[in-house]
């Protein structure tokens, strides 16, 4: 009887350990990252930026367009960036000024597939921004992690 109890105990422990390791392996979550471009008073007709995950284990899982109608469609990106940590994003519009965003606007949202619990860190760089007449403009880039509600 004691032997039977011992075997049962060992089996229970093994199952518990197995469940724990399975839980650790499947700790995957998704994190949305919003990217904003602030073009000040200039209408934003085009932008190109580079986004890189510099810390934490995260892969790019999806790319979504921005908030303004002009940039609501997903921007251009290399499909090879999917499941990678780095992507170059770009979009352009030939609309008139009154149909282009001014000031700070969310131009794209990147969805990341995050594994593990390490802190995520990003690096982003605005490579180009232009007004409707094609001139280069100065603009500010900012990245925000979207909080999970």
């Amino acid at each position: 009887m004691k032997a039977l109890l011992g075997i049962l105990c060992v089996l229970t422990c093994a199952v518990a350990v197995g469940q724990q390791s399975t839980t650790n392996a499947t700790t995957v979550r998704f994190q949305a990252v919003d990217i904003y471009v602030d073009s000040g008073n200039s209408p934003l007709a085009a932008y190109q930026l580079e986004f890189t995950v510099t810390a934490g284990s995260a892969k790019i899982a999806g790319i979504e367009g921005g908030e303004h109608a002009a940039f609501a469609q997903p921007p251009f990106y290399d499909p090879k960036a999917m499941q990678q940590e780095r992507v170059v994003l770009a979009a352009y519009r030939t609309d008139s000024d009154n149909k282009l965003p001014k000031g700070r606007t969310r131009v794209v949202t990147i969805h990341l597939q995050v594994s593990g619990r390490g802190e995520l860190k990003f690096e982003s760089k605005l490579q180009a921004a232009a007004s409707s007449n094609g001139d280069k403009i100065k603009a500010e880039l900012s990245v925000e992690k979207r909080s999970v509600k």
Partner: protein, 157 residues
Amino acid sequence: MNMNPSDPNPRRDGEEPTAPAKLVAALKEPPSRRVFVPSSVDAAVLHAARQHFAQPTRTRSSLFHSWLAWPAVATTALVLVGFGYFLFRQDESTRFAREDVNHDGQVDILDALQLARETQSGDRSAGHDLNGDGHVDGRDADIIAARAVQLEKGPKS
């Protein structure tokens, strides 16, 4: 040492030959009498010399060759200048990638925007028909945009 007894200039090997003293003395002595040359011989020699050194007159054949030479030289010069210009133009056109519409040395979204604006305004350059469909339009601008975001770009324009 030269041992030939008939040699009038005996010398050791490596030494310069020396003339006999009698010959040297005779050469130094001024001529005792003037040699008479008739004036007719003088005139004949002078005439012959003038004829010999006179500028040669152009023959018909050499004139013909000079008329042929100048057009040939001019044509060659024109061909060389044309070839140089062709090379220069070729260099100009290949200095930038086709996608580098604004010629700033890099292919980015600004090139796509510029081409899209040009196609909208009707200012279409046949050199930017990137998809080869015979038209320059927004699809060509999209090709530039896609190239701009490539993670591994080719050689810089």
